[in-house]
Amino acid sequence: MKHFIVLLLFCSTAFMAQTKLESTLSTELISFTLFNYDNLIADSYEDQSPYMTQLAYLLGRATQVPESQYLAILNRASFKTESSPINYMMALNAKTKELSGYYFVDE
């Protein structure tokens, strides 16, 4: 029984790690990130951060992970210094997968 539960947990984690968000949610995340990349970068330096807050909200709503965790990720140096919108989105995709098991764009 114990082994079965461990196997089940392993399988569910493995399954979660490969779950792509449904099309509407992933399109919304891709679109918002790419459209607003320049403002997301500006947000990470300026006092006002409406774009980052909204992106964290969209990610939190899609993956059920608290927004604060996404905000912390977006404020990391690796994101603040990423100068390519595509790389920024892919890095965010990888972090989302790591944090929640969900991803929004195929790598």
Binding site: S31, N36, E46, P50, Q54, Y57, K80, T81, S83, P85
Partner: protein
């Protein structure tokens, strides 16, 4: 047992009779109110289905058959109403889903049970109306635009905008004008993400935007959402002058609000809608977002040559270390998104340098760069007309009225001259010459500062006709550049041509229709926030003119005093312009 059976039968029969009486009662009530009310000719019904009187009846502006439930619905408000009411009485699911606002209107009016089948977006908490100002690079945008923001509790970035847009299939120039004037384009009420559209206004066209909260009741807010669903079923023909974005947003508001926006003819502009809403106290919380290129210009003009070169380097080549001067860094950052969106080959470089610039500002604890919204104390009318009385110093008095006039003079402290004036009617009279009647069809002035970063050019265009014993005409086009000196003076130079048979500078008839070269060089000086001094030299109609003009604008009136020197005469003129 048979007795019990009979009793059950009687009860069932009584229930059937009761239900029958109820149905008859409801039907009679509805039919009675139908005949008594003439609801189909009420503004509520006519507005909701975009019916317009035709003289002999009505015709809806909605062109798609899907907008109606009867084949003749576009021309028959009564038939459409009766057929709709029939479906409402039957609580028809298809009707309730496709036309949820009409369903609400009819159930409310006829006191029928209201069981809606569509779900409203409860996140929408208010409606904002936005007015991006004129954009001189596109004739359709020279008078501004207007759209609604269906704002959620999380704010604009989580919201959608709702506006009326025409499908122009990429047409430009004359085909665009011809089709726009003759109603050859289809237009739709279109809903899209706020953040997508606002990026276009903010960083591609870089226009100032005025925002206001629209004072809608909870019921009206609901009406707007329901009505928007119905609007997905049709297209409406777009006419550049009178059935444009302003017209259809006004019609949309009239369909859902108790307060009515006046529909103007023969043309309709965003300022009409805004001013009507302001006058009826339907707007609140005015705020303005100033274009970031304007903020960039204001900073850039204060930089010295070396600092300007540093900004240019940041925009064109990847740097290892960012400069430390906050003014240089902010000037670069303010123009950076505009450059990314308008000069894509530079995007990668600019993005690399943005990060370095922000880092440098972060070290100095001075990272506030992007424009913020500036609130106003209360909504103020947007001036869109001008009445001008003038005396030219040579026994000539002139009165002119322009029903369409947008000018930077509304913000008198600005140096750039971006004026749109159309359909001006004037009369000039005096003892020395016959009375002259003028019609200035259009007069566009776009004197905008040039700098190495934004590379704007300036131009003017004027087309006017007049009558003074004979028909006269004057068409003029000039192009050139303007430079800003320390935000105090604008120097400009324009060259071009005039095709005319009269000289509107000296008020003289030319011997025949002529194409003449023109030149104008001038300076605009901002002496204080209410006082300007303009000096210019013009070579027009093969004559030299030197004009000195002092303008004073304490409130809504601009007082002008001018000296015009030509050959051996100098004339002193005075003028009064009232903006309203």
């Amino acid at each position: 047992m048979p007795k019990q059976k009979n009793l059950v039968g009687i009860i069932l029969l009584m229930n059937k009779i009761r239900v029958g009486i109820l149905i008859i009662g409801v039907t009679l009530n509805v039919v009675g109110s139908m005949w008594a009310s003439d609801f189909h000719t009420s503004p509520t019904w006519l507005n909701a289905l975009y019916y317009e009187p035709t003289g002999s009846g009505y015709k809806s502006l909605a062109e798609s058959p899907d907008f109606f439930i009867t084949p003749t619905g576009q021309l028959d408000p009564k038939g459409e109403y009766e057929a709709s009411l029939d479906l409402v009485i039957k609580q028809d699911k298809g009707f309730k889903t496709k036309f949820p606002y009409r369903y609400k209107l009819l159930t409310t009016f006829h006191d029928i049970a209201y069981h809606p089948s569509v779900t409203l977006d409860e996140k929408i908490v208010k409606t904002v109306i936005a007015y991006p100002n004129r954009y001189m690079n596109n004739p359709a945008s020279m008078f501004g635009h207007i759209f609604l923001v269906l704002e959620t509790e999380r704010g604009p970035l989580d919201s959608d905008i709702l506006h009326y847009v025409a499908e122009t299939n990429g047409d430009t120039g004359l085909p665009y004008m011809a089709k726009g004037l003759s109603g050859r384009y289809r237009g739709w009420f279109y809903r899209e993400s706020y953040y997508k559209k606002i990026k276009y206004y903010n960083y591609v066209e870089d226009r100032d935007i005025l925002y206001y909260d629209l004072k809608l009741t909870e019921d009206e807010q609901e009406n707007l959402q329901l009505h928007h669903l119905e609007l997905q079923n049709s297209y409406f023909y777009y006419y550049f002058l009178d059935k444009n974005c302003s017209f259809f947003i006004a019609k949309l508001l009239n369909a859902v609000m108790a307060e009515q926006v006046a529909i103007k003819w023969p043309y309709m502009m965003p300022s009409h809608v805004m001013n009507d809403l302001i006058a009826s106290d339907s707007l609140d919380n005015e705020r303005r977002r100033v274009a970031s290129t304007k903020l960039f210009n204001a900073v850039f003009n204060t930089l010295n040559r070396h600092e300007k070169q540093q900004v240019m380097r940041l925009l064109t080549e990847e740097i290892d270390t960012a400069p430390t001067d906050p003014k240089v860094l902010k000037a670069f950052l303010l123009s950076s998104e505009y450059m990314i969106n308008n000069h894509s080959p530079l995007a990668a470089t600019v993005r690399q340098n943005r990060i370095k610039a922000y880092h440098a500002l972060e070290r100095q604890n001075d990272t506030a760069v992007r424009p913020t919204e500036t609130p106003a104390t209360r909504p103020t009318i947007i001036p869109s007309k001008v009445l001008e009385a003038s005396y030219n110093g040579k026994d000539r008095y002139q009165l002119e009225y322009s029903p369409i006039y947008f000018s930077e003079y509304q913000h008198f402290d600005k140096l750039n001259i971006i004026d749109v004036k159309a359909l001006s009617l004037g009369v000039a009279t005096g003892p020395e010459a016959p009375t002259k009647y003028t019609l200035d069809l259009i007069e566009l002035t776009n004197i905008k500062e040039y700098n190495v970063v934004l590379n704007s050019f300036s131009w003017t265009f004027k087309s006017s006709i007049a009558y003074q014993d004979e028909f006269l005409f004057n068409h003029e086009f000039m192009v050139g550049r303007a430079w800003n000196l320390f935000n105090k003076t604008l120097i400009y130079g324009l060259v071009g041509g005039t095709y005319a048979n009269y000289d509107d500078m000296s008020d003289l008839h030319l011997s025949d229709s002529q194409v003449l070269e023109t030149l104008e060089v001038g300076t605009l000086n901002q002496l204080s926030t209410t006082l300007k001094l303009n000096l210019k030299y013009s070579y027009k109609y093969r004559n030299d003119f030197i004009i000195t003009e002092l303008l004073y604008k304490p409130q809504k009136i601009i007082y002008g005093l001018s000296l015009t020197s030509k050959k051996d005469e100098t004339l002193l003129g005075v003028s009064f312009r009232v903006l309203f």
